[in-house]
């Protein structure tokens, strides 16, 4: 088996992996990036609407800063996230946007003078100041107090991905395309790289590295209806799980995006609603204000998706031959705005629906969109359980998003976490622990094991069909582990998935083609995907509360007293058919923003016993430091800057804020 060495092995060529690789490369490490597809085709390109960063340049963003962004993110997460991480993120996001600007991202800019925006269905005149002219502007997104989402028309992810990918080419980082990591090389305590399959030839290779980073994105394809690209099968998370030592956290926290076109599931951006688009029902009635009088269409995604499904259940859906949907109306934004700022949306509507969204309403229904859960890491991105293994981006549970992610925070997380975790990787490589001491016997054994896994599948002449199992799994997940969950359905989903796991050991192949064999690959992948599906379903079954995107109709309240904790799913024995679940408590006494009401959605949480005590402490500290500047006050509540690399600790300059 060929062995390829590097200092750093990044698995995944999307924005997170590329940015982490760049950070490590700039510190002098030799980096190799593996990617299933050419990196510019990664799913990062599909982020349309924008990236949140509190630049506060535009009038509607005025007064924004890290504190507001932090609080929006924590409320969005339904208090399920790590507040240290949220602080690190909110602090670094403006730097990331400015760095990307220097790398050529053509961010839309502030135009001085009056312009008309559609707010709450009405045209409103907004005046932009001349001092802000030409600075990076922002649009409105759900669950935010300020207009904070920086954007490039509705091709933000594309522009970011191309800029960062071109930077990695400039830095001479090799990307080994059409390569899939199939297992991690590890000895039970230290990760030494990965066994990798060449998707063009079927050949197995060993990539040995001092540090390995999984940045393989989400696992939306375990669902039938998803906005995710077809490559988002979660294999990176699955190979981490299969070590038996690494936990996947909060896998039940799955986001459904309110506006996927129906029935294809292709995303149309939240920017449609941010820019003033409305949701309508079968009668043409704008129903969101009935449910959410304050935030209306721009409550957080979990809330809007739930309200939409409830509205369909109440008989107000629009029926067509594929099922029921609702309407997204952006006609009121006008043709000029749509042609300029929502042109991908326009193209998607033209090509997939045959409609013109400046004149016709778009059929939409919520679809799986994002995995808040993933490989559990520390704030540095170090993976629990294995030294030398890191993870960032959607693949990781860094835990910025808790149980619901705000729109515009994921594409921001990719670059921000890449900047931070890439530095931690470089630190690790420079430390004594970063020395490579792997034995060739271990590499050989791991390689043999992976080869045996593939040949066992190729040899098996069982009666099962991989694409049928995949469809059964996807259907089970969409029907029983979707937006509205119930204990009975979840139990039935767990039972179904367990039987699918057993059946997946009996897949027979119809074709024994040499080289790239798509059928063999599918048979191999579906076994991994089933494990992820079980982590999601079992995690959801055990969590007898509702929090963020995890909504249980049989346990509708958020229960901080019993469930202010992170689910950790392990798979220690290859033969077991459901994960081993453990829990990690969140410490209320260290929260800067103790649990409360989100400002939208239900208001009936069961309090944690420490909440009132912590709230009193926070109130007292705030009062005591009332005359101090906001950074001093903040540092007293939750110190975080020491977690950041030194060059990312500085204050962010803003118009109108004293330096």
């Amino acid at each position: 088996m060929q062995i390829i060495h590097s200092d750093v092995l990044i698995i995944g060529g999307g924005l997170a992996g590329l940015r982490a690789g760049l950070a490590a490369r700039k510190r002098g490490q030799e980096v190799i990036i593996l990617s299933l597809v050419p990196p510019k085709r990664s799913h990062s390109a599909a982020a349309q609407g924008g990236m949140q960063a509190s630049l506060a340049n535009s009038t509607r963003g005025s007064g924004d800063n890290e504190d507001v962004h932090f609080e929006d993110t924590v409320r969005g997460s339904d208090w399920g996230n790590d507040q240290i991480v949220a602080r690190m993120f909110a602090h670094t996001a403006p730097k990331a946007v400015r760095e990307l600007a220097a790398w050529g991202v053509p961010w839309n800019r502030v135009q001085a003078g009056d312009h008309t925006a559609i707010i709450d269905g009405q045209p409103v005149t907004i005046s932009e100041s001349t001092t802000a002219h030409g600075l990076i502007t922002a649009r409105d997104f759900g669950g935010t107090k300020k207009w904070r989402t920086c954007y490039v028309s509705d091709g933000t992810g594309h522009a970011m991905l191309y800029a960062v990918s071109d930077q990695s080419i400039a830095a001479g980082i090799p990307v080994h395309e059409r390569m899939e990591a199939v297992s991690l090389i590890h000895d039970g305590s230290r990760c030494h790289g990965a066994i990798v399959r060449n998707l063009m030839t079927g050949e197995l290779l060993a990539y040995v590295a001092r540090a390995t980073c999984i940045a393989t994105g989400g696992f939306g394809r375990i669902y039938q209806s998803t906005t995710n690209a077809v490559i988002n099968e979660g294999i990176g998370a699955a190979i981490a799980l299969e070590t038996g030592i690494v936990p996947l956290a909060n896998m039940e926290a799955v986001q459904f995006h309110p506006t996927a076109i129906f029935p294809a599931g292709i995303l149309v951006t939240e920017g449609c609603r941010g820019d003033g688009g409305l949701l309508r029902d079968v009668d043409g009635h704008r129903f969101m204000p009935d449910y959410e009088p304050e935030k209306k269409e721009l409550a957080s995604r979990d809330v809007v998706s739930r309200r939409m499904e409830a509205h369909i259940q109440s008989g107000k859906g629009v029926r067509n031959r594929f099922g029921e949907h609702l309407w997204l109306d952006i006609t009121l934004l006008g043709e000029q705005h749509i042609n300029g700022k929502l042109r991908e949306v326009k193209e998607i509507c033209q090509h997939f629906l045959g409609i013109d969204p400046s004149r016709q309403w778009i059929p939409v229904r919520p679809a799986q969109h994002y995995s808040m859960g993933g490989i559990r890491t520390t704030p540095d991105g170090a993976v629990y359980g294995l030294q030398g293994l890191f993870s960032c981006g959607e693949a990781a549970c860094w835990d910025l998003h808790g149980f619901n992610r705000l729109g515009g925070n994921s594409v921001a997380e990719t670059v921000v976490s890449g900047m931070i975790v890439g530095e931690a990787i470089a630190d690790f490589c420079a430390s004594p622990a970063g020395e490579l001491t792997v034995s060739t016997a271990l590499i050989r054994d791991c390689g043999r094991q992976a080869a045996e896994e593939f040949s066992a599948i190729a040899r098996c002449s069982g009666p099962e069909n991989a694409s049928q199992l995949l469809r059964d799994m996807q259907q089970t997940m969409s029907q029983q582990v979707g937006i509205v969950r119930h204990g009975d359905a979840l139990q039935s989903a767990v039972d179904t998935l367990k039987s699918l796991i057993l059946r997946s050991r009996q897949i027979g192949l119809r074709c024994s083609r040499p080289g790239a064999n798509p059928e063999l690959l599918l048979a191999w992948r579906v076994r991994k995907m089933l494990k992820l599906a079980l982590c999601v379903a079992d995690g959801a079954l055990q969590r007898t509360e509702s929090r963020g995107a995890h909504f249980r109709s049989d346990h509708p309240q958020r229960n901080d007293a019993d469930w202010l904790k992170r689910t950790l799913a392990y798979w220690p024995d290859a033969e077991q058919t459901r994960p081993t679940l453990r829990y990690e408590a969140l410490d209320v006494l260290r929260m800067e923003l103790p649990p409360g009401w989100r400002g939208y959605g239900a208001r009936d949480a069961i309090d944690h016993p420490d909440t009132s005590r912590r709230q009193a402490e926070v109130d007292a500290l705030r009062q005591q430091l009332a005359s101090a500047d906001r950074n001093t006050r903040q540092a007293a509540l939750l110190a975080f800057r020491h977690h950041l690399p030194a060059h990312l600790r500085g204050d962010n300059a803003r118009l109108g804020e004293a330096p």
């Binding site: 597809v37 053509p106 071109d166 998607i348």
Partner: protein
């Protein structure tokens, strides 16, 4: 009232589609490339993405093709649809005849069946044309960003929308004769960085990259690229403009 534009309702019995697909697996060099016919029933809203996946799931699990976003934004699935380069994922079967021919994009290395290696070629082109911002000045990311005219940012994005699908190269007369031609995708990138004031390269620098027959002077103005670009980039204008700028420089 809502009026949804509908194409003529499909007849009660769905069309039966025949897809002739070019098959070749480089791992089996002894087997010559061949057109294989598959028949499927058309469904409402069917795209070539749906049709090809259905064939792979039910008829031939070995069929190779590339899809990623399946939404027309990533550029993975370009192929020859009835001889014309197009993104398969957003090609609706109802816009095609019932007999459809699919072949891999020419010019690029064939991986198998409909899958070609555009990624490797695009990376090589990016390295050769140095498609990144060349800035001498260091930027502090703690400070307020440099302003840019809003309309300039929008003009740069117009050119930044290329998805490197390879359609322009597959449709290019010059590329058929000169394997080293950078094509419309390469020239458009130069136009994009040339327009961007953050890139401090001069026209002389750009001339070094594209001022010969493998660059802007290799274009024969057949403009197949312009006709097939799925993002409708203004390739004709960009190439003509660049050629004028570069020609002037060549004379000086």
């Amino acid at each position: 009232m809502i009026s949804i534009f509908r194409r003529p309702a499909s007849s009660p019995t769905p069309r039966r589609l025949t897809l002739d697909i070019l098959r070749y697996n480089p791992a089996e060099p002894e087997r010559a490339p061949t057109l294989q016919a598959f028949t499927i029933d058309e469904a409402e809203g069917m795209t070539l993405f749906i049709a090809l996946n259905e064939i792979r799931a039910h008829q031939d699990p070995s069929l190779q093709f590339d899809f990623v976003c399946r939404a027309g934004i990533c550029g993975s699935c370009a192929m020859l649809v009835d001889g014309r380069p197009a993104l398969a994922c957003r090609t609706l079967t109802r816009d095609l005849n019932s007999h459809i021919t699919l072949a891999p994009l020419p010019f690029f290395e064939l991986i198998g069946d409909l899958s070609v290696n555009t990624g490797q070629w695009m990376r090589g082109t990016a390295e050769r044309l140095q498609t990144w911002i060349h800035a001498v000045d260091r930027v502090s990311i703690d400070e307020i960003e440099a302003p840019m005219a809003p309309e300039l940012a929008e003009a740069i994005y117009e050119l930044d929308r290329c998805i490197e699908c390879g359609c322009c190269i597959a449709a290019c007369g010059t590329a058929q004769m000169r394997p080293d031609f950078v094509g419309a995708v390469g020239l458009n990138k130069i136009a994009r960085f040339r327009l961007d004031p953050r890139d401090q390269r001069s026209d002389e620098d750009f001339y070094e990259l594209i001022g010969d027959d493998s660059g802007v002077f290799g274009c024969m103005s057949l403009l197949g690229c312009h006709d097939v670009c799925p993002k409708q980039l203004s390739l004709q204008t960009q190439i003509a403009f660049l050629r004028r700028k570069m020609a002037r420089l060549g004379f000086d």
